[in-house]
């Protein structure tokens, strides 16, 4: 059936999708002064969390703080709707401290919905986009009701809605997440443009009724006493309002799952999509880690005004009756009532090596991608890409060069470089181990690394920036003071040193050298540091880390400088690798496809060997 079209408005930036990527993209484009529209299939669920009711975690927490330093919204929204806050990996070292918070899902979505509605220059529209095509040098976005919007740039942030199909055992049907409508027609339009699509899948566990859980059988997990917000602009510390619990699977759980594994659509071969390696379903975990006695699961509240509890670690695509059966094998969940079943969802996405580091398509000027559309997984990964795609779409319209963050600057830069250089064969999840510069890319210094960029872009207010520079000044002063402060030996301090298991003083020693001792901390030395000024907690923390880890930080910085030399070797954009004599065929193909902008990026492409890089270096010298 041909739908009669009508002419709708014209925009600078059009964002398809109102999830975590779409929100950041739309907000930032509008904040940069562009006429922007954000389309969403269901206006009721802008910024929905269809999986974990939480934000942050290892590496993801870093992403949120970086996003915040660049003027993103996610950190602020999370702080305002936190149910419980924990800094993970405390005691493991500052490079891997990771902030994670349980979030009130419904309130978070409400906050985001209201934020986009209030944003000047941003229109929010409930509509399904069925077609995107270029006519007379402008992109046309057609809705299912026939509206013909035009825009200079388009950002795809379609998440699991694009060609979404839900699987529960033998049952499967077209759907988006949480029982919402999928986007069924847009995929064909992308294919018509010549953009190849592939299938990824992800899954979510059941939501169960709180009163049906026997908490007396479960381990308690409380929030931190001293909480830390995500956003550098959040003034009040988030309050812990709920607790979480830990439960374990057992041999019976395993038996139920293995007895019914043939009913899993994944094992029966019905699902073609590739699932996330680092976030496997429970049946996947049982099969792949067969010798593991038990698996942990976390029971997390979905909000203050709901009795729904989320079972983290127990996603499944087994039939509903099997799910109920295996949930019931778990101690504490023997009588649990499943309110929403677990399911797997399969969706269309692109191969991200089709994108430039700006997240614009190499072959389609003005088209950008972000989030699950690009093959990533996770709210934070999506938001980070959304922000960068939004900034670069705006820059494109303004005729400015794109913002490209290096791997050495941030997890955001690492994430995007990984996606566009290496691609991904399963939904890409950010991990601290993906960064080679963990000790420098800490969550505490995301502002030092990125806020100047955010400020220059105009996304950080004068007030926020002044506060940042003031804190930075205080930190530097304090480090200088510590380096010039000498502590004399004495009975009291030597007693303390001995009790901490470190050598007592025989002569005066620099305070910095004491802080460098792993057994001591900035705080533990306070009684002996008479001149210590009263400083904000985050300033003290940064000063302490920078002193304690100075030698290691310097070393990592020199690693960065070393690799920068290769990053600075630019490769002409129009280089045809077929002309480079000596490159192996596979390398030629890969290089022609990825079109790396420098030697450093070229060396990270899989299938390009060190000798290929030598060939390139020699070729470029000619």
């Amino acid at each position: 059936m041909n739908i009669p079209e009508y002419k709708a408005d014209n925009y600078d930036v059009a964002v398809i999708g109102g999830g975590h990527a779409g929100i950041e993209a739309a907000l930032v484009a509008a904040r940069l002064g562009l006429k922007t529209i954000m389309f969403t299939i269901t206006l009721d669920w802008v910024g929905n969390m269809p999986c974990n009711p939480s934000i942050g975690g290892t590496a993801k927490g870093h992403l949120v703080r970086e996003l915040d330093a660049l003027g993103g919204e996610m950190g602020k929204a999370a702080d305002k709707n936190t149910l419980q806050s924990r800094m993970l990996n405390r005691g493991k070292g500052p490079a891997v401290y990771s902030l994670r918070a349980q979030i009130d899902r419904r309130r978070y979505s409400e906050y985001m919905k209201h934020t986009v509605e209030l944003q000047k220059g941003l229109d929010v529209k409930q509509a399904e986009i069925v077609s995107v095509e270029k006519r007379e040098n402008i992109w046309h976005l057609i809705t299912s009701l026939g509206a013909d919007f035009t825009s200079k740039t388009v950002i795809f942030a379609t998440g699991t809605f694009l060609g979404g199909r839900v699987y529960v055992g033998e049952v499967n049907y077209e759907a988006g997440p949480d029982g919402l409508f999928p986007a069924t027609k847009l995929s064909q339009s992308l294919k018509n443009l010549g953009i190849p699509l592939r299938r990824f899948k992800t899954g979510t566990p059941a939501r169960v009724l709180k009163s049906s859980i026997d908490f007396s059988e479960l381990e308690l997990q409380e929030g931190d006493q001293k909480t830390v917000p995500f956003s550098f602009s959040t003034k009040e510390k988030p309050q812990n309002k709920v607790v979480c619990h830990i439960a374990y699977t057992n041999d019976d759980t395993k038996k139920v799952i293995l007895d019914n594994i043939h009913r899993s659509p994944l094992y029966a071969g019905v699902i073609e999509g590739v699932g996330p390696r680092y976030c496997p379903s429970i049946e996947d975990k049982i099969v792949r880690f067969a010798d593991k006695k038990r698996h942990q699961l976390f029971i997390e509240p979905c909000g203050e005004n709901t009795e729904e509890m989320y079972l983290q670690g127990m996603s499944s695509s087994l039939p509903e009756e099997v799910q109920i059966k295996f949930y019931h094998t778990i101690k504490g969940l023997e009588n649990v009532k499943v309110m929403r079943n677990a399911y797997a969802i399969e969706y269309d996405c692109i191969d991200p090596t089709a994108l430039k580091a700006s997240l614009e398509f190499k072959d389609f000027e003005g088209l950008f991608g972000a989030g699950q559309f690009n093959g990533s997984s996770g709210y934070e990964e999506a938001a980070a890409q959304g922000l960068i795609a939004g900034i670069n779409a705006a820059k494109k319209v303004k005729g400015e060069p794109p913002l490209i963050l290096s791997r050495a600057s941030s997890y955001i830069g690492t994430l995007i470089d990984d996606l566009v250089t290496k691609g991904c064969s399963d939904p890409y999840r950010m991990m601290t181990s993906r960064s080679e510069y963990r000790l420098l890319l800490r969550q505490d210094n995301a502002d030092d690394r990125l806020m100047p960029i955010g400020y220059e872009l105009g996304l950080i207010s004068e007030e926020e920036y002044n506060e940042f520079t003031e804190k930075k000044r205080l930190k530097e002063l304090e480090i200088a003071r510590i380096n010039q402060t000498y502590i004399a030996p004495g009975e009291e301090i030597n007693e303390m040193l001995s009790s901490m298991g470190t050598t007592p003083l025989s002569t005066g020693v620099c305070l910095a050298d004491l802080i460098k001792r792993p057994q001591l901390s900035y705080e533990s030395l306070a009684p002996f540091d008479k001149e210590r000024p009263i400083l904000p907690e985050d300033v003290c923390e940064k000063a302490e880390i920078e002193i304690k880890y100075e030698g290691y930080i310097v070393r990592q910085q020199s690693q960065i400088n070393e690799t920068l030399r290769l990053e600075n070797k630019k490769i002409p954009e129009d280089l045809n690798y077929d002309d480079v004599y000596g490159l192996r065929l596979e390398a030629k193909e890969k290089l022609n496809k990825i079109k790396p902008s420098n030697i450093g990026q070229a060396s990270r492409i899989s299938g390009v060997s060190p000798s290929d890089i030598s060939v390139l270096l020699i070729y470029l010298k000619k």
Partner: protein
């Protein structure tokens, strides 16, 4: 764009049984067809890779020599390019004429090490192997050659791979440690972690030690012969060299300059320098020579200190004896004459009694030299670092892992220790060329260009 096709005589210069002219590049087979006529009448272009044809090298219908042509098609050849090897009779002139024919038919003369360079660039060799081929080309003695061959066959790369595999395992554990807050991580408890670091440290240390031992074998031992004037230094030198290099007279102070010569004794190459005799002198020319001698004494890896036992020792002898260190062998010359010297001065030192004049005691001297020089034997089939570049990488790796160990013991958190482990890993990857840096390419190719 295509690279030029190159050719060179790839067997050693001189009168061998056969000489091989290697042609490599896109046009190699075409050029060979213009230069070579198979008796079967078959064109080389019609042959499959790894096949041979018997025929003759022809220039303007004039036959230069009988030849066998071996055809290798890309990428299955030494360089990864099309290669033809023409084996001709080994006379210098024949080989040179055959090469001329090939060059006149469109090949360029290959630069030094160019085949190896191409093999590396075409991914046929890793960096360590390519470097070792350069060493094979310049090997001074059999053991050096053997070591280089082993390196070419990848012994060094394999050894490094074993070490890096250990480090990668650690890295993986550290990744899990970082990304999974609630998991117990195997291998990262301090005792186990420390044991792993120690093992890695030990292996890199062993490898580092091979460099010095290997260097001795490859480059020879700087050896100086010292002694008072006219004790028989030059005669000893001549015995070692089996040729008259130094001027031998009875006038004290004849040898005024340091004379250099190379001699191989039982697989050890000695870079000999005969020095002016050490004694107090007023003669200005000789004085300069003496100063140089003392300097040599300090800079040499091996000192052969010669004493004339047919005369009593004087102050000059005593001065010299006290200046000698562990690197010295005391050579007591003129044992054919009556010994009158005070032998107690040599207590606790290495002494050998010889007569340079009638060649007696020389075998024993060789034995002492071997003992003194070769504190560490190289078997010839173990992995050996063969270039200064490789040694620098290994040294960086060693220092990083040693520091990682120190840090771990100090109690610092594992994320910081990880920085040092990464440093170690990248130095090792740089060694084998798995990690590319500008410097590697520059340095190695600089070598290729001045290679022998």
């Amino acid at each position: 764009m295509s690279e030029r096709t190159v050719a060179a005589i790839s067997t050693p210069q001189g009168e061998g049984g056969i000489a091989v002219i290697r042609i490599s590049g896109d046009e190699a087979i075409k050029i060979a067809d213009k230069s070579f006529r198979a008796f079967s009448g078959q064109k080389l272009e019609t042959l499959k890779g790894y096949s041979a044809a018997y025929g003759e090298i022809v220039s303007d219908n004039k036959v230069i020599d009988d030849a066998v042509a071996l055809v290798f098609t890309s990428p299955k050849s030494f360089t990864g390019e099309n290669v033809v090897e023409l084996s001709v009779h080994g006379g210098k002139l024949v080989a040179r004429d055959a090469l001329r024919v090939v060059l006149s038919n469109g090949a360029d003369l290959a630069g030094p090490g160019e085949f190896t360079k191409r093999a590396y660039l075409n991914g046929k060799l890793d960096l360590a192997s390519a470097e070792s081929i350069m060493e094979i080309i310049s090997a001074k003695n059999e053991t050096a050659l053997k070591i280089s061959r082993m390196a070419k066959e990848g012994n060094l790369s394999r050894e490094i791979e074993e070490i890096t595999a250990e480090i990668l395992k650690l890295d993986a554990a550290i990744s899990v440690y970082a990304d999974y807050p609630d998991e117990e991580i195997e291998g990262l408890d301090t005792p186990t972690f420390l044991k792993t670091l120690e093992k890695i440290e030990e292996n890199i240390k062993k490898l580092l030690e091979t460099y010095d031992a290997g260097k001795v074998i490859r480059e020879g031992v700087d050896t100086c012969i010292v002694g008072k004037p006219n004790v028989g230094k030059s005669t000893l030198m001549n015995v070692l060299c089996r040729e008259d290099r130094s001027i031998v007279t009875d006038v004290a102070g004849t040898t005024r300059d340091v004379v250099e010569s190379t001699v191989t004794v039982d697989g050890i190459t000695l870079n000999l320098s005969d020095t002016a005799g050490i004694r107090s002198t007023e003669d200005t020319v000789e004085k300069a020579g003496v100063e140089r001698s003392v300097k040599r004494l300090n800079n040499s890896a091996l000192v052969l200190a010669v004493f004339d036992v047919s005369r009593p020792f004087d102050n000059d002898d005593r001065k010299l004896i006290s200046a000698l260190g562990n690197n010295a062998i005391i050579v007591l010359n003129k044992n054919d004459l009556q010994s009158v010297a005070d032998m107690s001065l040599f207590e606790g030192k290495n002494t050998v009694s010889i007569s340079a004049k009638d060649n007696s005691g020389i075998q024993k001297l060789y034995g002492e030299i071997e003992k003194t020089v070769n504190s560490r034997k190289i078997s010839g089939d173990e992995a050996v670092l063969i270039s200064e570049r490789q040694r620098n990488c290994a040294k960086r790796a060693y220092e990083s892992i040693a520091e990682a160990k120190k840090s771990l013991l100090s109690g610092i958190t594992i994320d910081a220790v990880g920085v040092l482990i990464d440093d170690c890993l990248s130095a090792l990857l740089e060694l084998t060329g798995k990690r590319v840096t500008n410097e590697v390419t520059d340095e190695v190719f600089k070598r290729f260009c001045v290679g022998k």
